[in-house]
């Protein structure tokens, strides 16, 4: 804004005061205050520090239509309470220097946040002009602000502008000049405090009357005392005689809740201003979100919808993913095994075994997971991008509260659906050590993506067309065990502690296919990396144990180990093979499939799924799935539990707890399934 530039060099405020009107620019951080200052002053500005502070001070001059003005850029502040050096500087400047006009720069796109400072400035003696900045952003966000209506509601001039586009600055200075010409602060509409506190305010004003040091206004000092402002309290303690101070302090002590009452009055005032002058954005999107959330975030129907969505994800997996997975297993991995077997026919037995049974049988079987994982990743990515995942966590937490679980376990629960490792890390948000430990104990009961993928792979083998309902039931069963365990632990240790967790759910919006595509690609790549490293290594180890020492499976270390632990597996209907598969899922859940792949090998005519179908009964299959869902967390999760609890005792207790839960549930389900003839 070229008109605003003078040829004089910027000077200190006291010098400016002698020659020209002084404008103070006040505002919260990030409302474009400095941009406006630069626009007004151009090169005619001086940068230094506020006396005795390390806070940057900027002042300068500008001229419009032959009028010259001194301009001071006050530090960005949210309020005029003595919470920070910036806030003290801003209010001391306004009160002591008495600028001719204070310009409050506000963000038109977020008046709810910006107007709090205005609510404080409007009560001070200096005339106030509101610069309604960032009008372009408000328009972009669909927020329609009516400056004339806001002006009428506030009772002070309001000037719409966009400092970044150099629009509105000249009009602002013109309004400043009109305010200066009027020699009046206008008739501002001030925030009010509750009636009972008004009486208290009058009482304090009475106690301090005649003792308030210049230049502070007595009414403002009384209000700040009631707010518990540290600086003003110190000042008045010095200014008043001990008797007077004791009398005023006695009133203040009885009303230590006044801080909230005063701030509350200001927010009610802000609410009135915004209701009057702002048309809220994207009404369609907001009302759609509201309508959808009446169901999706409902304590009961929200759970029904969540269960339905989980069912839909499994249905998609079995309808689309499983046939592709079967094709990959029989045609690609099976075909490759066959081909490798023929090519390596004349090589050493261990090389052929390693490639065919170890690598292709183990890691190859896990790679056939990819279609299932892609569907999971895409489904959860879609739900996340749609804005639904936050609702899922919210309704789950409602359920947990009904069961007496602590609200703070919300975040670990939310994270646990992806992976239990960050879920355990997420327990850091809990202050109480006991609560943190308990949440750490139960967080791995949230079924992670890896466990759900194992279920999605194995369920069709044991249940054919009923795989969908079984998988869905397994997830719900797992969550039910979580709620039950949490309820018991909560009653024993939390003992009714209550604190709040506040979340802001995003608006529903159309998902972005590119975002979901990138997400699926990155996660699939990460899964393949895991299959090519950890799972491949584990497959080779399992294969080695299955052939050592003599090259015969029946006399191998693996079988010896399996037979040794088989008695425990028998409780759940497992033979040694399933027992070993379960144990090898400890390093990574997907290893259960890799191990079964190594043990059963691959054939060009029947993939692992078909082999399992013909080998195990339905009762055994169900028991294996239940036990896998509830089995001890993977090695990475256990390592994080050790790290977060800093205790082997708690880590071992966690392992023991999951062993007891999984074996008890597995054995119970197995015997129940046998009893009903499965």
């Amino acid at each position: 804004m070229n008109d605003c530039h003078t040829t004089t060099v910027a000077t200190r405020p006291f010098f400016i005061r002698q020659n020209m009107p002084l404008i103070a620019l006040a505002g919260q951080p990030n409302v474009g205050k400095s941009t406006l200052f630069n626009l007004l002053t151009g090169l005619n500005q001086h940068v230094g520090n506020w006396p005795g502070k390390t806070v940057e001070r900027r002042d300068g001059t500008c001229s419009v239509d032959g009028h010259q003005y001194g301009v001071v850029d006050l530090p960005g502040t949210y309020s005029l309470t003595a919470n920070s050096p910036e806030e003290i500087i801003a209010r001391e400047f306004v009160l002591r220097e008495e600028p001719d006009v204070v310009v409050a720069v506000v963000n038109a796109a977020n008046l709810e946040r910006s107007l709090y400072l205005v609510a404080e400035l409007i009560a001070l003696p200096s005339p106030l002009v509101v610069a309604l900045n960032m009008m372009d952003v408000a328009t972009q966000e669909g927020i329609h602000v009516e400056p004339e209506v806001l002006q009428a509601a506030l009772g002070v001039p309001v000037v719409p502008m966009t400092a970044t586009r150099s629009t509105g600055a000249r009009e602002l200075i013109c309004v400043v000049q009109e305010t200066l010409d009027a020699h009046s602060a206008g008739a501002p509409h001030l925030p009010e405090i509750r009636a009972d506190h008004r009486q208290v305010l009058a009482e304090i004003a009475q106690h301090i009357a005649g003792h308030v040091p210049q230049p502070y206004p007595a009414a403002w000092v009384a209000l700040k005392l009631l707010e518990g402002d540290v600086e003003i309290t110190r000042t008045m303690k010095t200014a008043l005689s001990p008797d007077k101070w004791e009398a005023a302090h006695a009133v203040l002590r009885q009303h230590d809740d006044a801080l909230l009452a005063i701030a509350s009055g200001r927010y009610e005032w802000i609410g009135r201003m915004v209701r009057a002058a702002v048309v809220q954005p994207k009404i369609g999107q907001v009302s759609l979100t509201k309508q959808l959330d009446e169901w999706a975030a409902h304590p009961f129907w929200g759970l029904v919808i969540l269960a339905g969505i989980l069912g839909l994800v499994f249905w998609l997996t079995f309808t689309v993913g499983s046939p592709v997975q079967n094709w990959l297993a029989t045609r690609i991995v099976g075909g490759l095994s066959n081909l490798a077997g023929q090519l390596l026919e004349n090589t050493t037995f261990w090389l052929k075994g390693l490639i065919v049974n170890g690598v292709l049988g183990g890691a190859g079987a896990v790679i056939t997971f990819v279609p299932i994982m892609v569907i999971f990743f895409a489904a959860f990515g879609l739900l996340e991008d749609l804005g639904y995942m936050a609702r899922a966590a919210y309704v789950m937490d409602n359920l947990m509260h009904l069961m007496g679980l602590h609200g703070k376990s919300f975040l670990p629960l939310f994270l646990g659906f992806g992976c239990n490792v960050p879920a355990i890390m997420g327990t850091r948000v809990i202050d109480s050590k006991q609560s943190r430990l308990l949440t750490t104990l139960i967080a791995p009961l949230v079924p992670c993506t890896a466990r759900m993928a194992v279920v999605a792979f194995l369920a069709p083998a044991f249940f054919g067309p009923r795989a969908l309902i079984v998988s869905w039931g397994l997830v719900l069963f797992s969550l039910m065990i979580l709620v039950l365990s949490g309820s018991v632990l909560n009653k024993v240790i939390f003992k009714g502690q209550r604190s709040a967790f506040i979340m802001e759910m995003p608006l529903y919006h159309l998902p972005n296919t590119r975002t979901i595509g990138v997400l699926v690609w990155q996660r699939s790549l990460s899964f393949l990396k895991k299959a090519g490293t950890n799972i491949l290594a584990m497959s080779v180890v399992i294969w080695a144990l299955s052939v050592l020492p003599g090259g015969d499976l029946n006399h191998s270390y693996l079988v010896q180990f399996g037979k040794f632990i088989e008695p425990v597996g028998r409780w759940m209907g497992f033979d040694w093979r399933l027992t070993v598969a379960l144990i090898t899922s400890f390093p990574a859940k997907e290893n259960a499939i890799a191990t079964l792949g190594v043990i059963f090998g691959n054939s060009p005519n029947a993939g692992l799924v078909q082999t399992l179908t013909s080998t195990f009964s339905t009762a055994t299959g169900l028991s294996f799935l239940v036990t896998t869902m509830l089995f001890i967390p993977c090695m990475a999760t256990v390592a994080v539990i050790r790290q977060e609890t800093n205790s082997w005792g708690w880590t071992l207790l966690n392992i023991a707890l999951f062993l007891v839960i999984s074996i008890t549930a597995g054995a119970g389900v197995y015997h129940l399934a046998l009893a009903i003839g499965l």
Binding site: Y78, N83, N110, E112, R113, Y116, L259, L260, A263, S264, Y267, E268, I270, G271, V274, Q280, T289, K290, F377, F380, E384, G387, M389, A390, Y394, D397, N398, H401, G407, K408, F410, L411, F414, L415, F417, G418, C419, V421, P422, A423, I424, M425, G426, R428, V429, D431, S432, T449, R498, S499, A500, F501, I502, M503, E504, M505, P506, H509, L519, S526
Partner: protein, 80 residues
């Protein structure tokens, strides 16, 4: 209004800004402004992300403040 919000927070549980706005007969944006006020006053604190805990998490993006699917979270400070 702020007093009512503090009462709701001190009652505990999991709260959602839109539901709070309905309870307080105001807009979610004003509730967010008040939550930020309470955060500055030390009544609640916010979580931007889960730090290194997010590594490998399928939902880590939900905590990324730069995205539209951001889920801002606050937690009340323990009462003395």
């Amino acid at each position: 209004m702020l007093e009512q919000l503090v009462k709701e927070i001190r009652a505990g549980g999991t709260l959602e800004t839109r539901v709070l706005a309905t309870h307080l007969s105001t807009s979610p944006r004003l509730v967010q402004a008040m939550l930020e006020h309470l955060q500055r006053a030390g009544v609640i604190r916010s979580y931007v992300n889960c730090g290194e805990g997010c590594q490998g998490c399928g939902l880590s993006e939900a905590c990324n403040t730069q995205r539209h699917s951001t889920v801002p979270l606050w937690q009340s400070e323990p009462l003395d």
